[in-house]
Amino acid sequence: MKLLNRLLPHPLLTLMLTVIWLLLVNRFSLNSLLFGFLLGLLIPVATQPYWPNRPKLKRPSKLVTYTLLVLWDIIVANVAVARIVLFMPNAKRQPAWINIPLDIRTPEAIAMLGGTITMTPGTLTADISAQGRSLLVHCLHAPDPDAVRAEIKTRYEARLKEIFE
Protein backbone atom coordinates (compact mmCIF):
# COMPACT_ATOMS: atom_id res chain seq x y z
CA MET A 1 0.00 0.00 0.00
CA LYS A 2 2.84 2.35 0.86
CA LEU A 3 4.65 1.42 -2.33
CA LEU A 4 1.49 2.03 -4.32
CA ASN A 5 1.18 5.45 -2.68
CA ARG A 6 4.77 6.21 -3.59
CA LEU A 7 4.26 5.17 -7.22
CA LEU A 8 0.86 6.83 -7.58
CA PRO A 9 0.89 9.96 -5.41
CA HIS A 10 -2.07 11.50 -7.25
CA PRO A 11 -4.24 8.82 -8.88
CA LEU A 12 -6.75 11.37 -10.18
CA LEU A 13 -3.95 13.41 -11.76
CA THR A 14 -2.65 10.24 -13.44
CA LEU A 15 -6.11 9.56 -14.87
CA MET A 16 -6.49 13.17 -16.00
CA LEU A 17 -3.07 13.28 -17.71
CA THR A 18 -3.84 10.04 -19.55
CA VAL A 19 -7.17 11.38 -20.79
CA ILE A 20 -5.64 14.73 -21.80
CA TRP A 21 -2.90 12.93 -23.73
CA LEU A 22 -5.52 10.87 -25.59
CA LEU A 23 -7.46 14.06 -26.39
CA LEU A 24 -4.26 15.74 -27.62
CA VAL A 25 -3.57 12.83 -29.96
CA ASN A 26 -7.24 13.12 -31.00
CA ARG A 27 -7.47 9.48 -32.02
CA PHE A 28 -7.69 6.41 -29.82
CA SER A 29 -5.01 3.73 -30.10
CA LEU A 30 -3.35 1.34 -27.68
CA ASN A 31 0.01 3.04 -28.31
CA SER A 32 -1.13 6.46 -27.22
CA LEU A 33 -3.08 5.01 -24.29
CA LEU A 34 0.09 3.36 -22.99
CA PHE A 35 2.24 6.44 -23.61
CA GLY A 36 -0.34 8.69 -21.95
CA PHE A 37 -0.43 6.38 -18.95
CA LEU A 38 3.37 6.46 -18.79
CA LEU A 39 3.28 10.27 -18.70
CA GLY A 40 0.53 10.03 -16.10
CA LEU A 41 2.86 7.93 -13.95
CA LEU A 42 6.00 10.05 -14.41
CA ILE A 43 4.65 13.60 -14.07
CA PRO A 44 2.98 13.17 -10.64
CA VAL A 45 6.12 11.52 -9.25
CA ALA A 46 8.33 14.31 -10.66
CA THR A 47 6.12 17.08 -9.25
CA GLN A 48 5.48 15.31 -5.94
CA PRO A 49 7.84 17.52 -3.85
CA TYR A 50 5.88 20.65 -4.81
CA TRP A 51 2.53 19.10 -4.03
CA PRO A 52 2.85 16.78 -1.05
CA ASN A 53 -0.81 16.47 0.00
CA ARG A 54 -3.48 14.75 -2.00
CA PRO A 55 -6.45 17.14 -2.33
CA LYS A 56 -9.66 15.58 -1.07
CA LEU A 57 -12.94 16.16 -2.88
CA LYS A 58 -15.85 15.73 -0.50
CA ARG A 59 -18.57 16.08 -3.11
CA PRO A 60 -17.06 15.73 -6.61
CA SER A 61 -20.55 15.65 -8.20
CA LYS A 62 -21.05 19.31 -7.30
CA LEU A 63 -17.99 20.16 -9.37
CA VAL A 64 -20.08 19.66 -12.52
CA THR A 65 -22.74 22.21 -11.52
CA TYR A 66 -20.00 24.55 -10.39
CA THR A 67 -18.25 24.32 -13.77
CA LEU A 68 -21.49 25.01 -15.65
CA LEU A 69 -22.26 27.98 -13.38
CA VAL A 70 -18.79 29.43 -13.97
CA LEU A 71 -18.98 28.90 -17.74
CA TRP A 72 -22.30 30.76 -17.82
CA ASP A 73 -20.85 33.55 -15.67
CA ILE A 74 -17.88 33.85 -18.02
CA ILE A 75 -20.23 34.56 -20.92
CA VAL A 76 -22.12 37.15 -18.84
CA ALA A 77 -18.77 38.60 -17.70
CA ASN A 78 -17.62 39.05 -21.27
CA VAL A 79 -20.74 40.98 -22.24
CA ALA A 80 -20.60 43.10 -19.09
CA VAL A 81 -16.92 43.97 -19.55
CA ALA A 82 -17.44 44.67 -23.25
CA ARG A 83 -20.23 47.13 -22.40
CA ILE A 84 -18.07 48.92 -19.84
CA VAL A 85 -15.16 49.09 -22.27
CA LEU A 86 -17.27 50.39 -25.14
CA PHE A 87 -19.82 52.69 -23.54
CA MET A 88 -18.59 53.92 -20.17
CA PRO A 89 -16.32 56.99 -20.10
CA ASN A 90 -13.23 56.52 -17.95
CA ALA A 91 -14.18 59.43 -15.68
CA LYS A 92 -17.46 57.74 -14.71
CA ARG A 93 -15.94 54.33 -14.06
CA GLN A 94 -15.20 53.57 -10.40
CA PRO A 95 -12.40 51.00 -10.10
CA ALA A 96 -11.90 49.63 -6.58
CA TRP A 97 -9.74 47.30 -4.55
CA ILE A 98 -11.68 45.03 -2.21
CA ASN A 99 -10.52 42.42 0.25
CA ILE A 100 -12.35 39.14 0.61
CA PRO A 101 -11.86 37.35 3.95
CA LEU A 102 -11.70 33.63 3.25
CA ASP A 103 -13.68 30.90 5.00
CA ILE A 104 -12.02 28.15 2.97
CA ARG A 105 -8.55 26.90 3.92
CA THR A 106 -7.73 24.20 1.34
CA PRO A 107 -5.04 25.57 -1.02
CA GLU A 108 -6.67 23.93 -4.05
CA ALA A 109 -10.03 25.51 -3.21
CA ILE A 110 -8.46 28.95 -2.76
CA ALA A 111 -6.66 28.58 -6.10
CA MET A 112 -9.94 27.67 -7.78
CA LEU A 113 -11.72 30.60 -6.16
CA GLY A 114 -8.95 32.93 -7.34
CA GLY A 115 -9.22 31.63 -10.89
CA THR A 116 -12.99 31.89 -10.85
CA ILE A 117 -12.89 35.50 -9.64
CA THR A 118 -10.50 36.45 -12.43
CA MET A 119 -12.70 34.86 -15.10
CA THR A 120 -16.03 36.34 -13.92
CA PRO A 121 -17.72 39.77 -14.13
CA GLY A 122 -15.40 42.74 -13.73
CA THR A 123 -13.23 41.26 -10.98
CA LEU A 124 -9.61 40.13 -10.93
CA THR A 125 -7.68 38.35 -8.20
CA ALA A 126 -4.51 40.34 -7.55
CA ASP A 127 -2.98 38.92 -4.40
CA ILE A 128 -3.45 36.80 -1.29
CA SER A 129 -2.73 38.00 2.23
CA ALA A 130 0.61 36.99 3.76
CA GLN A 131 -1.06 34.33 5.91
CA GLY A 132 -3.45 33.14 3.21
CA ARG A 133 -6.57 34.34 5.02
CA SER A 134 -7.97 36.82 2.47
CA LEU A 135 -7.84 37.61 -1.23
CA LEU A 136 -7.16 41.02 -2.77
CA VAL A 137 -9.52 41.62 -5.68
CA HIS A 138 -9.56 44.46 -8.18
CA CYS A 139 -12.94 45.55 -9.60
CA LEU A 140 -13.24 47.22 -12.99
CA HIS A 141 -16.38 49.10 -11.98
CA ALA A 142 -17.77 48.73 -8.47
CA PRO A 143 -20.09 51.45 -7.18
CA ASP A 144 -20.95 49.10 -4.29
CA PRO A 145 -17.89 47.04 -3.18
CA ASP A 146 -19.79 45.30 -0.36
CA ALA A 147 -22.28 43.82 -2.81
CA VAL A 148 -19.43 42.42 -4.93
CA ARG A 149 -17.86 40.86 -1.84
CA ALA A 150 -21.16 39.32 -0.73
CA GLU A 151 -21.83 37.92 -4.20
CA ILE A 152 -18.41 36.26 -4.46
CA LYS A 153 -18.78 34.73 -1.01
CA THR A 154 -22.26 33.31 -1.52
CA ARG A 155 -22.05 32.41 -5.19
CA TYR A 156 -18.58 30.85 -5.41
CA GLU A 157 -16.94 30.43 -2.03
CA ALA A 158 -19.89 28.69 -0.38
CA ARG A 159 -20.07 26.21 -3.26
CA LEU A 160 -16.32 25.54 -3.18
CA LYS A 161 -16.52 24.98 0.56
CA GLU A 162 -19.16 22.30 -0.05
CA ILE A 163 -17.00 20.63 -2.68
CA PHE A 164 -13.67 20.65 -0.87
CA GLU A 165 -14.29 20.83 2.87
Binding site: V85, N90, N99, G115, T118, L124, D127, L136, H138
Partner: protein, 126 residues
Protein backbone atom coordinates in the same frame (compact mmCIF):
# COMPACT_ATOMS: atom_id res chain seq x y z
CA UNK B 1 -27.05 26.59 -44.95
CA UNK B 2 -28.25 27.01 -41.37
CA UNK B 3 -25.08 25.33 -40.16
CA UNK B 4 -22.98 27.71 -42.23
CA UNK B 5 -24.82 30.66 -40.72
CA UNK B 6 -24.28 29.27 -37.23
CA UNK B 7 -20.55 28.84 -37.83
CA UNK B 8 -20.29 32.37 -39.24
CA UNK B 9 -22.13 33.81 -36.23
CA UNK B 10 -19.75 32.02 -33.85
CA UNK B 11 -16.65 33.23 -35.70
CA UNK B 12 -17.89 36.81 -36.10
CA UNK B 13 -18.99 37.09 -32.45
CA UNK B 14 -15.62 35.65 -31.39
CA UNK B 15 -13.80 38.18 -33.57
CA UNK B 16 -15.85 41.06 -32.17
CA UNK B 17 -15.04 40.13 -28.58
CA UNK B 18 -11.36 39.82 -29.48
CA UNK B 19 -11.53 43.32 -30.97
CA UNK B 20 -13.29 44.73 -27.88
CA UNK B 21 -10.64 43.15 -25.63
CA UNK B 22 -7.83 44.74 -27.64
CA UNK B 23 -9.65 48.09 -27.77
CA UNK B 24 -10.03 47.96 -23.98
CA UNK B 25 -6.25 47.79 -23.67
CA UNK B 26 -6.03 51.23 -25.34
CA UNK B 27 -9.11 52.83 -23.85
CA UNK B 28 -9.04 51.97 -20.15
CA UNK B 29 -7.07 54.46 -18.12
CA UNK B 30 -5.09 52.66 -15.39
CA UNK B 31 -2.88 49.54 -15.52
CA UNK B 32 -5.05 47.34 -13.25
CA UNK B 33 -8.24 48.12 -15.18
CA UNK B 34 -6.46 47.47 -18.45
CA UNK B 35 -5.89 43.90 -17.36
CA UNK B 36 -9.64 43.21 -17.17
CA UNK B 37 -10.20 43.60 -20.89
CA UNK B 38 -7.80 40.95 -22.20
CA UNK B 39 -8.48 38.37 -19.47
CA UNK B 40 -12.22 38.35 -20.12
CA UNK B 41 -13.13 39.41 -23.61
CA UNK B 42 -10.40 37.31 -25.14
CA UNK B 43 -11.77 34.17 -23.48
CA UNK B 44 -15.08 34.52 -25.28
CA UNK B 45 -13.27 35.76 -28.40
CA UNK B 46 -11.19 32.62 -28.65
CA UNK B 47 -14.14 30.54 -27.38
CA UNK B 48 -16.42 31.71 -30.19
CA UNK B 49 -13.87 30.86 -32.88
CA UNK B 50 -13.28 27.45 -31.28
CA UNK B 51 -16.99 26.58 -31.13
CA UNK B 52 -17.26 27.54 -34.81
CA UNK B 53 -14.29 25.31 -35.57
CA UNK B 54 -15.84 22.39 -33.65
CA UNK B 55 -19.15 22.63 -35.52
CA UNK B 56 -17.26 22.84 -38.82
CA UNK B 57 -15.18 19.76 -38.02
CA UNK B 58 -18.24 17.79 -36.89
CA UNK B 59 -20.44 18.65 -39.88
CA UNK B 60 -18.08 18.97 -42.83
CA UNK B 61 -15.25 16.63 -41.91
CA UNK B 62 -17.40 14.14 -40.04
CA UNK B 63 -15.13 13.82 -37.03
CA UNK B 64 -15.41 15.03 -33.46
CA UNK B 65 -12.38 17.10 -32.58
CA UNK B 66 -11.21 17.38 -29.00
CA UNK B 67 -8.47 19.93 -29.57
CA UNK B 68 -10.85 22.88 -29.21
CA UNK B 69 -12.01 21.65 -25.81
CA UNK B 70 -8.39 21.31 -24.73
CA UNK B 71 -7.51 24.83 -25.90
CA UNK B 72 -10.48 26.15 -23.88
CA UNK B 73 -9.36 24.17 -20.85
CA UNK B 74 -5.75 25.41 -21.08
CA UNK B 75 -6.94 29.00 -21.57
CA UNK B 76 -9.22 28.82 -18.53
CA UNK B 77 -6.40 27.40 -16.43
CA UNK B 78 -3.62 29.73 -17.59
CA UNK B 79 -5.34 33.12 -18.03
CA UNK B 80 -5.89 33.72 -14.27
CA UNK B 81 -2.27 32.79 -13.53
CA UNK B 82 -0.92 35.30 -16.07
CA UNK B 83 -3.26 37.99 -14.76
CA UNK B 84 -2.18 37.25 -11.20
CA UNK B 85 1.51 37.56 -12.11
CA UNK B 86 0.94 40.90 -13.86
CA UNK B 87 -1.06 42.14 -10.86
CA UNK B 88 1.73 41.13 -8.52
CA UNK B 89 4.27 43.06 -10.60
CA UNK B 90 1.99 46.12 -10.47
CA UNK B 91 1.51 45.81 -6.69
CA UNK B 92 5.23 45.38 -6.18
CA UNK B 93 6.29 48.36 -8.28
CA UNK B 94 3.51 50.90 -8.00
CA UNK B 95 1.64 50.49 -4.71
CA UNK B 96 2.52 50.78 -1.05
CA UNK B 97 0.82 48.73 1.66
CA UNK B 98 -1.28 51.72 2.71
CA UNK B 99 -2.81 52.08 -0.80
CA UNK B 100 -4.52 48.71 -0.53
CA UNK B 101 -7.40 47.63 1.71
CA UNK B 102 -6.72 45.95 5.02
CA UNK B 103 -5.27 42.47 4.65
CA UNK B 104 -6.71 41.09 7.88
CA UNK B 105 -4.75 39.72 10.80
CA UNK B 106 -1.27 40.01 9.27
CA UNK B 107 -1.67 43.53 7.81
CA UNK B 108 0.24 42.78 4.61
CA UNK B 109 -0.55 41.25 1.25
CA UNK B 110 1.82 38.53 0.13
CA UNK B 111 3.61 40.68 -2.48
CA UNK B 112 4.48 43.31 0.13
CA UNK B 113 5.50 40.67 2.66
CA UNK B 114 9.23 40.67 1.92
CA UNK B 115 11.83 38.67 3.86
CA UNK B 116 13.43 41.82 5.35
CA UNK B 117 10.24 42.41 7.36
CA UNK B 118 10.94 39.36 9.50
CA UNK B 119 14.49 38.19 8.85
CA UNK B 120 14.55 35.86 11.83
CA UNK B 121 11.41 33.89 11.04
CA UNK B 122 11.74 33.26 7.32
CA UNK B 123 14.28 30.49 7.84
CA UNK B 124 12.01 28.53 10.13
CA UNK B 125 8.98 28.89 7.85
CA UNK B 126 10.85 27.52 4.85
Amino acid sequence: MIIELLISVCVVVGGLFGLVGSFGLIKLSDPMSRMHAPTKSTTLGVGGVLVGSMIHAAVYEGKVSAHELLITLFLLVTAPVTANFLAKVFINQQTRPEDLPDAGSCKLWATHDKPEHHPASDQSEA
